[in-house]
């Protein structure tokens, strides 16, 4: 069955480009809200809500609170060398405990954080060739080798620390 509202809408479209008609007998109840509201242009709504997260992320970045795997690695090596850390990821922390070790960390970061352990020991544990660059991420070595995963590595680091 054809809806009278739709028919009205169609005829209104044909008849007039500027106004619509609610058919006889079809009246809506008045708008009731306890709030005092003000219309916002859609463009302003979108612009403001896009600007807000952008500003927040930029603010966090400039405060040094933005760190992902890449910036963590660069920041920590830079901090250890005594140079000021870069703008991005300045707040990234070095692995304080074996439980903090992540696949995104490099071999160099781990041997720096746990001094008794040498690169040769770590690479040997990971089943990687001894000439592997120490800038390689642990997860790359874990994926290549088939003997150890990150939780096992954490346990091993803990045991080495206890000795």
């Amino acid at each position: 069955m054809r809806s009278p509202l739709r028919a009205s809408l169609r005829s209104a479209t044909k008849a007039s480009r500027t106004e619509l008609t609610i058919p006889r007998g079809r009246r809506a109840v008045p708008t009731q809200t306890r709030l005092r509201t003000r219309r916002i242009p859609v463009a302003m709504y979108v612009a403001a809500l896009l600007l807000l997260p952008t500003l927040m992320v930029v603010g966090f970045m400039s405060a040094g609170l933005w760190a992902n795997s890449e910036t963590t690695a660069t920041t920590q090596s830079g901090t250890r060398a005594g140079t000021p850390s870069g703008e991005s990821g300045a707040g990234a922390a070095a692995p304080g405990a074996p439980a903090d070790v992540k696949g995104s960390m490099t071999v160099q970061q781990v041997i720096d954080a746990f001094p008794p352990i040498t690169a040769a020991q770590l690479l040997g544990k990971l089943g990687a060739p001894l000439n592997t660059p120490t800038s390689t991420q642990l997860k790359t070595l874990v994926e290549k080798g088939n003997s150890i995963d990150i939780p096992t590595l954490r346990t091993w680091l803990q045991e080495q620390g206890a000795k």
């Binding site: 500027t18 809506a28 008045p30 005092r36 760190a67 795997s69 439980a99 995104s104």
Partner: protein, 325 residues
């Protein structure tokens, strides 16, 4: 009596009045949709570039861009000072940003920025395009759409919508108790970010199931399972911004209801403050009346609600005559 009849029946003394209301320019809705789709495309492109770059050149982890990771790991960070594996500081920053965005703009993130939502919308539109051209599929879709109006299906829909709260509880409590990202194994967002690695995992299966469902239902994951959407719903309850319907300018054409991807009955609301509203403004774009639906900002002051009774003069008759002039 249907909801539509009930709503219009209350207009007691207006049976012989024809109300003329200003029409919105036809291109207005198209422009709004175009703006949203452009922003969604940009976000998808950025996230896609990030995900592919991570796989091909070992760039930064795509998970660093996951706001849900920050929400899941927040408890562990606050109590132990350590992050949960797979949670980056950037995830915490994004989680805070999404929460603030929800406090201000309700579900804006879901409707305008979320790449998983965009993907579901694209699949749904593709599904519609295909079913429009193949007649057996078109008949099946119409049957399903007719079924969607049945009370039994509405009840199932209402029950299924509790799913996202349960997933949220599982994700947050699980992460707090075990110290790992328990939801990660079934997170289609992660599967989407890792899609270039071609890993067959539970998350990938959930992603595929979501996309298959999206052929028939709009945004199925957002409706029934998204924990990030659930968090934003809670924060969004405090948002001063909402779509508001001016009932005196509403035609009752139901175009807003049909346009809503979350199946909210917009034309029965005064302010659309539903927890499932994702702020996509599809309803506003679909509304043919200039003042029918609009984005509004609630002011910090309250006023007494206006009431009407058969003894009161019909204020809207005056409005109607003014408009007719």
């Amino acid at each position: 009596m249907t909801m539509q009849e009930e709503r219009t029946d209350r207009s007691f003394n207006a049976t012989d009045v024809r109300v003329r209301i200003p029409r919105r320019a036809a291109a207005w809705g198209a422009r709004t949709r175009w703006a949203r789709h452009t922003i969604q495309a940009v976000v998808v492109a950025v996230v896609g570039w990030q995900a592919v770059g991570h796989v091909t050149s070992g760039g930064e982890s795509a998970e660093a861009w996951c706001p849900l990771g920050g929400i899941e790991g927040a408890w562990t960070v606050l109590t132990t000072g350590r992050t949960v594996p797979h949670v980056h500081t950037s995830s915490l920053v994004l989680a805070a940003t999404v929460l603030v965005l929800a406090l201000v703009g309700r579900g804006f993130f879901c409707g305008w920025l979320c790449p998983l939502g965009t993907l579901q919308e694209m699949v749904h539109k593709a599904g519609r395009a295909v079913t429009d051209r193949v007649s057996p599929l078109r008949r099946l879709r119409r049957r399903l759409e007719r079924g969607a109006g049945i009370e039994r299906w509405r009840r199932i829909d209402r029950v299924l919508r509790w799913g996202r709260w349960m997933v949220l509880a599982w994700a947050i409590i699980g992460a707090a108790v075990t110290g790992t990202m328990v939801f990660r194994v079934a997170d289609p967002w992660i599967a989407l970010l890792m899609v270039a690695q071609f890993e067959l995992s539970l998350a990938f299966v959930v992603l595929v199931a979501t996309l298959i469902l999206a052929l028939f239902i709009q945004r199925p994951f957002c409706r029934y399972a998204c924990p990030l959407g659930a968090v934003q719903s809670l924060a969004g309850k405090l948002s001063p911004i909402a779509v508001q319907r001016d009932a005196s300018a509403c035609l009752g054409c139901d175009l807003c209801n049909q346009a809503c991807p979350m199946a909210i009955p917009v034309n029965t609301r005064t302010r659309v403050t539903d927890t499932s509203c994702n702020g996509c403004l599809e309803c506003v774009a679909a509304c043919p009346s200039q003042n029918g639906l609009a984005v509004t900002l609630a002011m910090p002051t309250f006023r007494t609600p206006r009431t009407t009774s058969p003894t009161e003069p019909d204020l809207h008759a005056a409005t109607a005559s003014e408009i007719t002039k």
